[in-house]
Assembly symmetry: C2
Homo-oligomer: 710 residues x 2
């Protein structure tokens, strides 16, 4: 491999020395050779006669192409002739190409004409690599052809990609079936394609100066993959890597910031309605047990706490400084925090990058870097960490403790999180505002919540990721331990436009986010409600042990909609084994429907629900249950809810735990029943067949990504 | 046209006389000629010499194909040679084709070899027709090629299709861009393609015995469309058309059933818990003012009403008979209803087709047909018609009057409708159970609700449509007057499987439903919640006059998510004109974001919301508003809600009405504010950016389909 690197380094040095920004075809071929990327037989000739001789030696047909550092778009220049079938045609083609090239760009330096073995494949594909501002090097795969371009059927992974990543790309395009052989055509060599993807991803990772690479087309047959054309674009300007402390450093700071022994409130106030007053009240009324130091230029005491003129006057250590002063005073106060060696600043004030004041924000970043202060914000509502009874925010105090850690880039979305949490009684461990993300961002939070014993699920709203690669690398590890759910706003071009007018963030290509999230095991929420419902429901559910889902329903109509929802959420309805079918039939009326869904029919007493649910929990072949309840007089909603919890508890006592979700169709009393079920560990929804199944789907997606179902 | 029909009739008669089920290529060509469907120049030859002469006269290249009534799959038989380039090649091809054909099927009758002009086109497409059990004749369009097959990128319309339908098909495939010319290729002749689609649709409509038709490929160029290959499959067995009374007859019956002067309850009971008791109580307690006649074999009186042994004993007319007796007694009682000339029977009892008792259900259908009784059910909860205070059901009495008419095929879904309606205070005009749909189905309800002044929106849940064509024809007209929203369950193959185990209904191909709904102007709900939210919100909103949507938001983060939702729901964010941008800027802080969304920023007082909303309502270029509220102390939720309603009322007083929807991000108080807004005609949702926009999107989809935006 070192040998390969040396060869590529030499070629790139030549290109750099020549001041070029792309490689010639022969150079591209040499790079491919070095990295084991198969290319066709070829050679460069300087005369029509040589062309004819070389072509004959390879065997016809051949392709002939102009070689010139000055002509990048060869086809456009008339510099390509395909399907050259004989020696005479080779002579003609040579002359035509040269004439066209001279016509296209008279001053172009012409190296010669490349003669290349012409390939045929079952399938033409494209393998390439790009450099993204947030994610860095990405490898791409798609089918060849205009139609695929129109349909934008292409998939990305972070480079370097593993062989498993590469194989997942072959299944990751809409037209994946084409690779498996359609209408009698042979399937392609998946191994060869995956290896080529891996090698391209290694090449661009080894040489950051390779900005873009295209193997287009690659001819894939049942036993080979050969890149017919290679295009490599380079950029020798070194990018400054983003500042990123080590994980140990991040954790050391984050642990102090999120669970402080002492908090200073810079701009604390006794005056109602001031932000510095709300923050003080929330700290006090929220029940925070650590030291609270109000900082104020004149006051002696604020809300019963001794006040100081500066953090530097505070006798003991301070872990977290919450800022509630106007933007123009922040830099000076932040410097004092640095001198006091405070590890974290919560920058509530707005008036920075989001209002065009980029210089003001940059100043904070420099001060933070200088003194090693980690900064949350600016332009945020602050944060809550409920295990420490800490409400470091100007919003209302929040008190429903639980295991979901949420964050939002936007304050409005943060307020929606707070309202929903309270209304739905979703317990949270933390709610964090990230705002302008001048420093602390989603990956820092992931690192903290990864090791936080109070957090079981992490749900984040973001509009961009400043460092998508860092996020993906951390998320990939964290998501194997705890579900990571992300609502990426600015999915669509209209949304992305709104996002940039809002935060000045460059919106990433959404398909890249989509694929990288998948690669990192991140569950992507499609809407705000999904983010909230997943954060609420996923930690409540036990982890399934396998893919077999069974629907038990009192309403046949719900069964159909629940089945639709299973398909939409990638859940697998277990084909019902004959013996189990018989066992279910013992409990249900003769006209109840067999199979899956198990349709117990509408007029049944509580015992039918209970018996079938017990059977579903007990049988080892079933891994998860979806219940469809139909409100009747014989089994009222709360009766249903109680017997389902009973059945679950009976089985739990025997050591059996499986995820159960429920859809409740009925009059308003089903709302109380749904709440009861939720509080007892069974995500349940009134008037909806789709949301409970989506919650179960999110749990499954996580379990699959974390390798818990294999 | 009559001439064309005569020609096709003659050909089909020949095929029928010969006992064949498909047409030969020359027959297909003649059919196409008659209907003005362009096909290539061609002729059939009986010798190699003739082949060579004819081919030379057309110009090379040509395609040559075996002509034999016994060989349907010509390629498989080796009976096709493409790209014949010279007279010698034509001779060779003729001999090869004959030899292959004899080898493939020695007993085949060989008519000769067809020589056909070989076409090249910018784009190969497929135009075809199929016969569907529910929808009848459908015309289909897609691109040619295996990839398109893999992606299932094909679109359907009811035949006959109008020119507008046909043009919409060209835009109705995912790969539509291909037809407009990609990467320098010429756009195809849309007019020629649309005409060909129309003609195929007319042909199959004129001749029901044409079961399937394939023009594959059709070569489309910038100025022509020529069908290179024609395949026509026929089926001469006449299908019995579905029984369908005239619209006048349907309406006459439905008006009496839904708004009866007198109701009989067959199986009325004094005993609590009996269905016949619940129905009686609901009629009485629901406030129904007409006559109520309990029918009971022995009782003199039930719940204070004089009882009769049979409907025949009742002195006056009866409009609606509600059945609450076991299945086995239904047929006899129904016959009595017939003799009494009762126009409608509400068949609550179960135990018919849904439990495999098909004969029992067929018996009811015969009796109904004989006496001209329209039947709802069997296997239903009954129905509500609130303008008449009529609760002809065993469920709880329902009392929130309003303008949404809902129906469900499933009882469970019906209960969910009732619960949601009550909980969300969604006013309804009717809730109807359709169950097994032995007779009355969705199109009957559409006809009634079309002319019902109490109904402004129609929302239906169904698992199948017994007569999709009748539904589509009625819906196409009704949807131009009132929004028609349909939740089609069994969308996915798993859902469809559950649907058939539940109702014995054959699940239709979902793509056909999708396309036909679109053609008929039906709004398709993707989930139960969507059905309910659309039914609740769409009638509340005034109809927009144009496509320009503007977002006004206090939370930038909501603005981004609302923009995403606009794209998802096919809403167009108006590019903000410079003068209007300036006008908005007058009201918002200097760092508020320009353009659309209008980001007024979070810390603003109520006046900023009010002023910007007033401006948005007043400016004629804006047609609809989406509001994003962010809970702050300075503008609390109810303050926001009240000033928005005020602003709306001020403008309404000036004769200005535009749809407004709102997304509320905040603490739990936003729930009350959302309810207040909804009750005042502004669909508003807490903790959701996507639902309010989806509701507006549904309104727009309807307005577009009804031609109100042009």
């Amino acid at each position: 491999m070192e040998n390969a690197k040396t060869k590529v380094r030499e070629i790139l040095d030549t290109v750099k020395a020549a001041g070029r920004d792309s490689l010639t075809a022969p150079e591209g071929k040499l790079v491919c050779d070095a990295y084991g990327i198969a290319v066709p037989q070829e050679g460069v000739v300087g005369s029509a006669e040589e062309a004819s001789t070389l072509a004959a030696s390879m065997g016809f047909p051949v392709v002939m192409k102009i070689v010139s550092p000055d002509i990048l778009h060869k086809t456009e220049a008339g510099g390509v002739v395909v399907g050259v079938k004989s020696e005479e045609e080779a002579v003609e083609a040579y002359e035509k190409i040269l004439a066209n090239a001279r016509n296209y760009k008279p001053e172009a330096h012409i190296v010669g004409v490349q003669v290349q073995q012409m390939l045929k494949g079952e399938q033409e594909v494209i393998i390439g690599a790009v450099t993204d501002g947030s994610f860095g090097k990405l490898v791409a795969f798609g089918l060849g052809g205009v139609l695929v371009e129109v349909l934008k059927d292409i998939t990305f992974r972070l480079a370097p990609a593993t062989k498993a990543d590469a194989l997942s790309m072959l299944d990751g395009i809409q037209a994946a079936e084409m690779l498996r052989g359609v209408r009698g055509s042979e399937p392609v060599d998946r191994d060869a394609l995956a290896n080529m993807i891996v090698r391209v991803s290694e090449l661009v990772s080894d040489f950051p100066e390779i900005a873009e690479m295209d193997l287009n087309p690659v001819f894939a047959t049942k036993n080979s993959a050969v890149a017919a054309d290679v295009r490599i674009v380079v950029d020798f300007e070194a990018k400054e890597p983003r500042y990123r402390p080590s994980e140990e450093e991040v954790l050391a700071s984050m642990n102090r910031i999120m669970q402080p022994q002492s908090v200073a409130v810079i701009g604390a106030s006794s005056e109602d309605g001031k932000i510095g007053n709300s923050v003080m009240k929330n700290l006090i009324n929220g029940g925070y047990k650590g030291n609270i130091y109000p900082i104020h230029p004149k006051a002696e005491e604020i809300l019963g706490y001794k006040a100081y003129k500066s953090v530097k006057d505070v006798p003991g250590e301070i872990d977290t400084a919450v800022f509630a002063i106007p933007a123009k005073f922040v830099a000076a106060a932040l410097t004092e925090c640095g001198e006091k060696k405070i590890p974290g600043a919560v920058l509530i004030p707005s008036g920075f990058a989001e209002t065009g004041q980029h210089a003001l924000q940059e100043e904070l970043v420099s001060i933070g870097r200088k003194y090693n202060i980690r900064m949350m914000g600016p332009n945020i509502y602050g944060f809550y960490y409920t295990p420490a009874n800490l409400c470091a925010t100007f919003c209302t105090a929040y008190d429903v403790k639980g295991s979901a850690a949420l964050s939002s880039q936007s304050g409005g979305i943060g307020m929606a999180i707070i309202g929903f949490s309270r209304s739905a009684k979703m317990g949270v461990s933390a709610i964090v505002g990230l705002g302008n993300k001048s420093d602390i961002d989603e990956d820092d939070l992931l690192l903290f919540f990864e090791q936080d014993p109070n957090t079981k699920v992490i749900a984040q709203h973001c509009e961009d990721l400043k460092d998508g690669r860092a996020f993906a690398e951390v998320a990939r590890r964290v998501s194997r331990k705890k579900p990571v759910i992300v609502l990426k706003a600015g999915r669509t071009s209209a949304g992305a436009k709104a996002a940039s007018s809002h935060t000045g963030a460059l919106a990433g290509n959404d398909k890249i986010y989509e694929d990288v999230f998948k690669q990192a095991g991140v569950i992507r929420a499609r809407s705000l409600r999904d983010l909230l419902d997943f954060a609420r429901g996923v930690p409540v559910l036990p982890t399934p042990k396998g893919e077999n889902v069974v629907i038990i329903t009192g309403a046949g109509g719900s069964g159909v909609l629940l089945s639709d929802a299973c398909v939409d959420n990638n859940l697998k309805l277990m084909p019902m084994p004959e013996d189990l079918d018989k066992a279910f039939r013992k409990f249900i009326p003769p006209f109840g429907a067999a199979g899956n869904p198990v349709d117990i029919t509408g007029g049944e007493p509580p015992s039918t629900y209970k018996n079938t649910v017990l059977l579903g929990l007990e049988d080892e072949r079933i891994h998860a249950l979806i219940l469809g309840y139909w409100h009747t007089i014989i089994t009222p909603p709360m009766t249903f809810a109680r017997i389902i919890v009973e059945a679950r508890d009976e089985m739990r006592a025997k050591g059996i735990e499986k995820p159960i979700v429920a859809s409740l169709a009925g009059d308003v009393q089903v709302e109380e029943a749904a709440q009861y079920l939720y509080e007892h560990g069974i995500p349940a929804y009134a008037y909806s067949t789709e949301i409970p199944v989506a919650v179960l789907g999110a749990k499954y997606q996580w379990a699959r990504g974390a390798g818990l179902l294999e």
